[in-house]
């Protein structure tokens, strides 16, 4: 028995306790159970980190879950470097956000429910990252999906919230469908769903093909793409990204935990985890890279014009996730995971700050109605500013290192689309800086544009909310220091620890470029970041009337961006409306009116004559049917005897 098994089960226990006793007994004290459980998990995760850093790789089966013929699935845990990083990310964010929620959710009627869902989510996410087989991964995958659904629809009596929950659930089903098939194909191919045998056998099957619908499909590509389907859904990539912004209907801690820091990164984790498979298929990698790049650009452009505080951050999340996929796609899994890791800190921080702002504004989300909040909420302002600097890639902060790593890997990697995605990445870096600071300037600077009542009510959030902010802020600054690129690191005598740490699992492709090129890439990214900030300053502080004029001028562009490229409408047009139309016209209009009517009137008349003879057999008395069955058995036995 390994005590690391407690990491996921402590939150599960908290969930069980809360859901059973929360309503009647714990009530306002529900958070204690959850926080203690998650904090204990965090402690265990840290000890796992130490353990793994010492060179151990922990892989054990806790309990055999299912055993049927050759199919064996167990509840088992694999803790390697990748898992450990994820563990740290998940438990840290989870703990802090649990604490934050104490203040944020105070006085809510479903207090215990909220915490029990949070705990359940933590459990599922930990099961996901700690799984040592695909089925358990899938279990965790669906578990987090379910919790996400619960938590998005937490305010279930608000229609938009429950709709958003449903949307997230349905959209995810598309991706999970592919993922599920992927797991089947894995089982069919390898005869097992355990990581280790699968990955060790994968290389041997690199060239294998599979006859799929008459086409010979490259097996690894097929598996990789099917698995990637799941990633697209869960990580809100391009065609299936629509659910994430809507998911902001959930409580803000949920947005921070699930829709920024942990769950949505599960897709990236999946790709990284399956890197042995992905690496065997160039096609798949290219698809990953391009999906990531396009999504990041796409989301960033939308983010430029949105007015909803949380949605801007949500689009920024989508964009950053694209970044991570971009990294994975060019083979730089380490960079992707590194960005995942830093991103978790500053994005969670951004969301929590947004929550803090919301708390002060009484639920108001429109940044056009804010302004000058820095006067009232200094802590929030400072932390959010730092997070924005971090995401914009200002040197020294966490975001800078990971982003730079990705861009460099894209530029210098072996991927055929490397240069292209680097270019996109750089543009996105600029856009990111711009919209992040647009947000900052509109929210915290200028004049207050809200109602009097709101202004009167403005205040800094309680301690339980600001302390997690500060802790995360430290993370947003310092988290990147474990991955200082060699270019800088050599000068100050530090290594790229994370890359070395991850090497046994994910490998570490070397960039094919000179120092000069690397310096160039770095400088370009710094420059675009700063210029983005500068432009934002110019447009929103120096010349506040400028955006309005630009909007007037580029009305068409603005409208497209503001309406998120009409993707929702597109889906509505392509899928929803045709379905309704089909139901209305084809099924009712044609099938019912023409065919069924005809059948009802014409055919039955013909058949009726026939059946009136036959119906005497149909007595409706079941003994008669049973007798006929028995006669059948009799005949069967007789034949058997005769033979």
């Amino acid at each position: 028995m390994n005590s690391y098994a407690l990491i996921p089960f402590l939150p599960l226990a908290a969930f069980v306790i809360n859901i059973l006793f929360g309503r009647r007994y714990l009530k306002e004290n529900a958070h204690w159970v959850s926080i203690l459980a998650v904090a204990a998990s965090w402690v265990l995760a840290v000890s796992a980190l130490v353990d793994v850093a010492g060179g151990n790789k922990i892989n054990f089966d806790l309990y055999t879950w299912m055993l049927s013929g050759g199919f064996k699935v167990s509840v088992g845990f694999l803790i390697d470097q990748l898992t450990v990083v994820m563990l740290i990310v998940v438990t840290t964010c989870s703990t802090l956000i649990h604490i934050y929620s104490v203040g944020y959710m105070h006085g809510d009627s479903g207090y215990y429910r909220f915490f029990s869902y949070l705990s359940l989510f933590t459990f599922s996410m930990l099961m996901l990252v700690m799984a040592n087989n695909f089925l358990q991964l899938y279990f965790g995958w669906e578990g987090v999906g379910l919790c996400s659904y619960f938590l998005i629809g937490y305010y279930f009596n608000k229609k938009s919230a429950s709709d958003a929950g449903k949307k997230a659930f349905i959209v995810n089903r598309f991706g999970d469908f592919g993922f599920g098939i992927g797991i089947f194909v894995v089982f069919l191919t390898f005869g097992t769903v355990y990581y280790e045998p699968v990955f060790s056998q994968a290389a041997g099957l690199a060239g294998a093909t599979y006859n799929f619908l008459g086409y010979d499909v490259h097996l690894m590509t097929l598996i990789a793409l099917l698995l990637f389907c799941g990633s697209i859904g869960k990580s809100a990539q391009m065609p299936l990204h629509v659910w994430l912004p809507d998911a902001m209907e959930g409580p803000t801690p949920v947005s921070a935990l699930i829709h920024a820091a942990t769950m949505v990164t599960a897709g990236v984790f999946l790709v990284a985890r399956c890197s042995p498979i992905f690496s065997l298929s160039d096609t798949a990698l290219m698809v990953v890279a391009l999906t990531g790049a396009i999504t990041s650009l796409f989301a960033a452009t939308i983010g430029l014009v949105q007015n909803d505080l949380k949605r801007i951050i949500a689009y920024s999340t989508v964009s950053q996730l694209g970044y991570m996929f971009l990294a994975c796609g060019v083979g730089a899994y380490t960079a992707g995971i590194f960005h995942l890791y830093t991103h978790a800190f500053f994005k969670a921080l951004l969301f929590l700050c947004a929550g803090s702002v919301m708390h002060a504004m009484g639920g108001e989300l429109d940044i056009q109605k804010m302004g000058n909040l820095k006067k009232y909420m200094p802590v929030t302002y400072m932390t959010m500013l730092i997070a924005s600097f971090s995401i914009s890639g200002i040197p020294g902060l966490a975001g800078f290192f990971s982003k730079d790593e990705i861009l460099w890997m894209a530029y210098a990697g072996e991927s055929p689309v490397g240069k292209f995605v680097w270019a996109i990445g750089t543009v996105v870096a600029f856009l990111t800086a711009f919209y992040s600071f647009r947000l900052i300037f509109l929210t915290f600077h200028g004049k207050f544009r809200g109602t009097h009542e709101q202004e009167h009510h403005l205040h800094e959030s309680p301690k339980s909310m600001t302390i997690p902010l500060m802790i995360l802020c430290v993370g947003a600054v310092a988290a990147g220091w474990v991955g200082i690129p060699a270019l800088i690191g050599e000068n100050i005598g530090v290594h790229n620890y994370i890359a070395e740490f991850m090497k046994p699992v994910l490998g570490h492709p070397e960039g094919h470029g000179t120092h000069g090129e690397e310096m160039m890439v770095m400088l370009i990214s710094i420059a675009v970041g700063l210029s983005g900030i500068g432009l934002a300053y110019f447009m929103y502080i120096v010349r506040p009337e400028l955006p309005e004029r630009l909007t007037q001028q580029f009305r068409a562009v603005h409208r497209v961006l503001f309406n998120k490229y009409y993707v929702d409408e597109l889906y509505s047009f392509i899928i929803v409306r045709p379905a309704i139309w089909t139901a209305k016209n084809v099924l009712i209009g044609i099938t019912d009116a023409r065919i069924i009517e005809a059948l009802v009137n014409g055919v039955p008349n013909a058949i009726g004559a026939l059946s009136s003879g036959l119906r005497k057999v149909q007595t409706g008395i079941m003994q008669h049917y049973a007798t006929i069955m028995a006669t059948g058995i009799l005949i069967f036995v007789a034949i058997m005897l005769m033979r």
Binding site: T64, M66, L67, Q623, T627, A630, L634, V637, A638, L641
Partner: protein, 170 residues
């Protein structure tokens, strides 16, 4: 000799009781005979060294399933029910068919060939106790069917509740 005697007793009683079960007019009495029948079958199981199955037979069949029957019988309006005709008109046909089928099946027994003997001899089972032996198999080799069975029970429970539930007047 004694074993044959016991078997003879059990077989005789079981057949007699099953005839009583299917021929009684009053379903309540049928249930009572059925109860006795289950005990005898359980006795037969003990005879075959299947003590756990015998216990289950009593607990589940007699203790749970048959009580359900009894409940349903309680709901019937027995007095009217008994007055009605009890069998379908064509019962001689069914009787004839069952008789033939019985003859056919017993005839087929002649073709039985003893297969290879497995590892669970009486001694093994008695050493390990039947419950343990059965449990080990159930929870290892037959775990999946076992879970499916539990799922079936769950579905049955839900289904029964949905079917039999009715709205209470508020």
């Amino acid at each position: 000799m004694l074993q044959q005697l016991f078997f003879g007793y059990y077989a005789f009683i079981i057949i007699g009781l099953s005839l009583l079960v299917v021929t009684r007019k009053n379903p309540g009495h049928s249930v009572m005979w059925m109860l006795l029948l289950f005990f005898h079958i359980a006795g037969l199981y003990l005879f075959l060294n299947a003590e756990f199955i015998a216990a289950i037979q009593v607990i589940v069949y007699a203790g749970a399933i048959l009580v359900l029957f009894l409940f349903v019988v309680l709901l019937l309006n027995l007095r009217e029910e008994i007055a009605l005709r009890q069998t379908v008109g064509s019962w001689p046909v069914a009787f004839f068919m069952c008789a033939i089928l019985f003859v056919a099946v017993t005839a087929a027994l002649g073709a039985y060939v003893q297969g290879p003997v497995g590892g669970y001899s009486i001694d093994v089972i008695q050493n390990e106790t039947h419950a343990k032996a059965l449990g080990k198999l159930l929870y290892t080799e037959y775990l999946f069917p076992f879970e499916i069975a539990s799922l079936i029970l769950l579905v049955a429970v839900v289904g029964a509740v949905v079917l039999a539930k009715r709205k209470l007047r508020s």
